[in-house]
């Protein structure tokens, strides 16, 4: 969930009134926002870097507001204010208009064939006669960063470039070139670099190094030139210094390059709709023409409202929707509502999204609570029912339940148990952050032994059990793996206590109504298993099938789990007893 930080007083000024913190919190709650924190720059710095660093920092109060991940239109002060003002019926939702330039051809952005290989899409627009103030400028920069982090997926899907149009001249060319052939002075640098040099320069840049991987290994890098060969930007890494915008910029050329055209259109719409209110003619955006390699042309920004028809009839719903920036009208048949979705609401893609807005405008908490009449009979999952019943009786038998992790290191299920990883049928995780998450466990035993190790100070004996799932590779399943429900128990004391663990196994069989004996009964027979002390391990057979093992653990296993006492263990698959 993205967090937007706005100056409280600026926000209240724009909202035309002040709120107490509680009142504002309440308003946020209704509108689906969350007032996450009330702080100041000074507070933030002193918390992160200590009081001395915070000396002299601004103590203007900041509201940090959590915004739903799909509401890109609320990522800046302008959008927040517009949304809340319309919601409080203090203003009408603006209609955004795309206009042609008054006296000339629209700006053109020509896409060349070479971009196909690396970053094929681009869209553009112009904000004409805009007036920046320091706050507006900051917000404009901040919104680009917020969009880059969210909908642009850290610039992989879309990258935004904004330029002072008066420093450059169209038509612009969006092309791709080998990195050695690109040379320009990047934003806030004193000299020119080739693209190759830039990539190594930014390797250590705390901000930009995160984006290098997007094009690093490509044969050609994307680049935008103006008609005089001046580099506007090398997306998605950096803009040129030449065309950078400032407080005095009057006309802004915005380009978005992308690997996903839909997202590029959304991002461009967001940038222009949020800031076109500062244009001489508010809420208008000057179009730009994009020329594709095949000669097709397209005008941007899209800005067309989407129309969705609701099969609902009440005038009231239409009123509610209007509160949410969704202009709505009951159609002449009186049974349907036509809803105009502004370009700011890219999150609305289905009638259900509109109905949610209607519910929000009505107030979720004003909706009467009802009880569904759905009549059903409950059923337990047989496997879980069996597990629940056995857990109770294992505790009654004097064993204490452990709850261990399903993920562990390869060492835990192999080396430490004196097994070879290849015989475990373990599923492997490709992106573990630490060794603790290398594999899904194939046995409950290692978790129990680690639990014993962490509780060595407890009085002996320790009797532990767990009934839970392990995961095994299984080709017959659609995903190639399956869970297996196991019952595992350990007895840890000064003597191995094989008879104790054996007695527990007898008790489990008794609970499952299986009598000792061959055939349909259960019996154990000596088995070889590297985890156990030689001659002290037996395989358990029930109803003719092998269901698990019990025995005294091998001293090397004891050592590897950093234990000191003898230990016996029982491990059975309970899925045989369903």
């Amino acid at each position: 969930m993205p967090t937007v930080s706005v100056k409280r007083d600026l926000l209240f000024h724009a909202l035309g009134r002040t709120y107490t913190d509680e009142e504002f919190d309440e308003l946020c709650f209704e509108f689906g926002l969350e007032l996450d924190e009330i702080t100041s720059e000074k507070d933030i710095i002193s918390r992160e870097q200590g009081d001395t660093k915070a000396e002299g920092a601004s103590d203007v109060i900041l509201y940090k507001i959590d915004v739903p991940a799909n509401r890109y239109d609320l990522l800046c002060l302008e959008g927040l204010v517009r949304g809340l003002q319309v919601f409080k019926q203090k203003m009408e939702a603006p209609r955004y208009r795309r206009v042609s330039p008054a006296s000339s051809e629209p700006q053109r952005l020509v896409i060349t064939e070479e971009t196909t290989a690396v970053r094929p899409h681009a869209v553009a627009a112009v904000l004409r006669n805009i007036t920046f103030t320091q706050e507006r400028y900051d917000s404009f920069i901040e919104l680009q960063e917020k969009l880059h982090q969210n909908v642009c997926r850290k610039r992989t899907l879309v990258a935004i470039g904004t330029h002072d149009l008066d420093t450059i001249s169209g038509p612009f060319t969006y092309t791709a070139k080998p990195p050695g052939d690109i040379r320009f002075k990047p934003l806030n640098q004193a000299k020119e670099y080739t693209a190759q040099e830039l990539m190594s320069l930014y390797k250590t840049d705390s901000h930009l190094r995160h984006y290098l991987h997007i094009i690093e290994d490509e044969a050609v890098y994307p680049v935008i030139y103006d008609s005089n060969g001046i580099v506007l930007s090398m997306p998605p890494i950096i803009n040129g210094d030449h065309s950078k915008i400032s407080l005095n910029t009057k006309n802004v050329f915005i380009e978005c390059t992308a690997t996903d055209l839909t997202k590029a259109k959304i991002v461009l719409d967001m940038m222009v709709t949020m800031f076109c209110e500062y244009c001489e003619e508010p809420f208008t955006v000057e179009e730009a023409e994009v020329v594709y390699p095949d000669g097709r042309t397209c005008q941007y920004p899209v800005l067309y409202p989407l129309t969705i028809t609701l099969h609902e009839s009440t005038e009231h719903i239409a009123q509610l929707l209007t509160k949410m920036c969704l202009r709505s009208e009951v159609m002449s048949d009186g049974e349907q509502i036509e809803v105009e979705i502004p370009p700011t609401r890219s999150d609305v893609i289905h009638a259900c999204d509109i109905m949610e807005d209607a519910a929000m405008a009505y107030g979720f908490n004003n909706i009467p609570r009802t009880t569904p009449r759905t009549y059903t009979i409950a059923n337990q999952l047989p496997l879980n029912k069996l597990s629940e019943l056995l857990r109770q009786d294992l505790a009654a038998a004097g064993f204490t339940e452990a709850l261990t992790f399903a993920l562990c290191s390869q060492e835990d299920i192999a080396d430490k148990l004196l097994k070879n990883i290849s015989e475990t049928r373990a599923c492997r995780i490709s992106n573990p952050k630490t060794a603790e998450f290398q594999v899904a466990r194939t046995t409950l035993l290692s978790g129990l032994l680690k639990t014993v190790a962490a509780n060595r100070k407890m009085p002996l004996p320790l009797r532990l059990f767990e009934i839970s799932d392990v995961v095994l590779k299984d080709e017959s399943k659609d995903v190639g793996a399956r869970n297996n429900r196991r019952l595992c128990a350990v007895y840890y004391n000064k003597s191995p206590g094989f008879e104790v663990i054996h007695g527990l196994m007898d008790r489990v069989m008794q609970l499952l109504e299986i009598k000792p004996g061959q055939g349909n009964g259960y019996h154990i027979q000596a088995a070889d298993d590297s985890t156990f002390f030689p001659g002290r391990c037996a395989e358990i057979f029930a109803c003719g099938k092998s269901i698990g093992r019990l025995g005294v653990l091998h001293p090397d296993v004891i050592n590897r789990f950093e234990l000191t006492m003898p230990c016996s263990a029982l491990d059975i698959d309970i899925e045989h007893f369903l």
Binding site: K263, E356, N365, Q380, L403, A440
Partner: protein
């Protein structure tokens, strides 16, 4: 039992006096150690009201080691004087006409128990010289009890089978129990507190008529975990940073083909009344195996299965099982946790129904004050965060998430139009940590659990 002879002697002494006597005096007059008398008093007290004894303390003066030596051999000064040989007497000796050893005299007084004859100043001076010390003596003031007798009967400690058989218990006196002490802890096993809470949640769902879903498949394909839920392939949750992907088995290889095609279409082109996300949907992304990030993957499988029935029947499903997130770990977050999920599918379910059922569910947990905040979730619309009023914290805290599944999720499955599905979820760990007052999740879940906490944890009644 103290020496019986001493006990009886003590009783006879008590019998003779009217008011009572001091244990210290008894010890002095009998010439025995005071501790022996204390032992006798204690064993008499244990017999009931034979005697009563009030503890009192008194101070008296005693000679230190050096003090005793002086009392015996005279003060150092006196000893120096007396050790000077008669023949060669230096001048100094002439100054001593008659040697009076005052220190020794004073110490002797104290030794005889006549310290009261000395002035406080004198005693303090001797104390400073480390010849005297003031000692606090604890003693008992012994008086007759309501059942005073000079003969004592031996008390039995426990009832025996022989006493029951012979009836001798009727004549015996039994030693009283110490009810202040704790009993012997029973030798038993214990259930894990998180599992106790799970059992209760399971019980609540069963009481409400919900059927348990088969969630015993930790490994899931991205298709069922994300795509079938209309979660776009570029969604951040599908990042390496948030989800555990598998390298072996890396891919799922079997999907219902026609359903997969409908999912592809609704993502990339829209349909079923939706604009779709309009991006290039890739089967390779859907095939990637992961550790499921939510049990909703199982709900999706169950709803798809339901949609394949010849005739739709309403269902109520629940599950409580493990889910996995490749997230940053802290005191309240682990890479795996238990998700509690409830799902109801029927014709015409409304947001009011969802709130109604959430009220009933949370009521069973003892939570009555609820309110709902609009939220965003890729596969539900509307989505609501559930907040409850925490009486202790005096504020609203989030207790769960809920919503109605999107038509883009349900219709491609083949569920009839008009069927809506409401669902909610919460974690099992959070309510358990609150219930049992645990601040660090590692003390609750995983091998670092504190077994003493498991041994000591009470039964789980969520509504009290």
């Amino acid at each position: 039992m103290a020496d019986t002879g001493l006990v009886e002697t003590l009783l006879r002494r008590v019998e003779k006096v009217d008011g009572g006597l001091d244990s210290q005096d008894v010890a002095t007059s009998l010439g025995v150690d005071h501790q022996a008398i204390v032992g006798a008093v204690k064993s008499l007290l244990a017999l009931g009201d034979v005697i009563s004894a009030d503890q009192r303390s008194s101070k008296h003066w005693e000679l230190t080691g050096e003090g005793c030596e002086i009392a015996e051999q005279g003060s150092h000064e006196a000893r120096v004087v007396s050790s000077i040989p008669e023949e060669g007497m230096p001048q100094s000796q002439l100054m001593v006409e008659h040697l009076e050893d005052l220190v020794r005299d004073k110490l002797l007084l104290v030794q005889k128990g006549q310290a009261s004859q000395l002035e406080e100043k004198e005693k303090n001076e001797l104390k400073k010289r480390k010849l005297l010390s003031e000692v606090t003596v604890k003693s008992y003031w012994i008086t007759k009890g309501s059942c005073f007798s000079t003969t004592i009967t031996k008390q039995e400690t426990e009832l025996t089978p022989e006493m029951i058989a012979s009836g001798s218990w009727k004549e015996k006196k039994f030693k009283p129990y110490n009810f202040e002490a704790l009993g012997v802890a029973p030798d038993c096993g214990h259930l894990h507190p998180l599992m106790k809470v799970r059992t209760q949640f399971r019980q609540i769902f069963l009481e409400m008529g919900f059927t348990e879903m088969p969630t015993n498949n930790f490994i899931e394909s991205s298709f069922w975990n994300f795509d079938s839920l209309f979660q776009p392939q570029q969604h951040p949750a599908r990042d390496q940073h948030d989800t555990f992907f598998l390298s072996d088995p890396a891919q799922a290889h079997e999907f219902p083909q026609d359903y997969l095609e409908r999912v592809r279409k609704v993502h990339s082109e829209g349909g079923f009344g939706s604009q779709g996300y309009k991006y290039d949907w890739k089967i390779e992304e859907a095939q990637k195996n992961i550790l499921r990030t939510h049990t909703t993957a199982v709900s999706a499988r169950m709803l798809y299965k339901l949609a394949q029935q010849e005739k739709f029947t309403p269902v109520k499903y629940f599950s409580i099982d493990r889910v996995f997130r490749n997230e940053t770990l802290d005191a309240t977050h682990l890479a795996e946790f238990h998700q509690i999920e409830g799902v109801v599918a029927d014709y015409g379910l409304t947001l009011g129904d969802l709130m109604g059922i959430l009220h009933q569910f949370f009521n069973k947990l003892g939570i009555t004050k609820l309110r709902f905040k609009p939220a965003y979730n890729p596969y539900t619309e509307p989505s609501m965060e559930v907040f409850s009023y925490h009486e202790g914290l005096k504020k609203w805290v989030e207790v769960g998430n809920s919503g109605m599944f999107r038509p883009e999720m349900l219709l491609p499955m083949g569920l009839p139009e008009g069927v809506t599905v409401i669902a909610w979820g919460l974690s099992l760990e959070r309510p358990t940590m609150i219930k049992y007052g645990i601040n660090n999740i590692r003390e609750l879940v995983g091998h670092k659990v504190n077994l003493q906490m498991v041994y000591d944890s009470p039964v789980c009644r969520l509504d009290s």
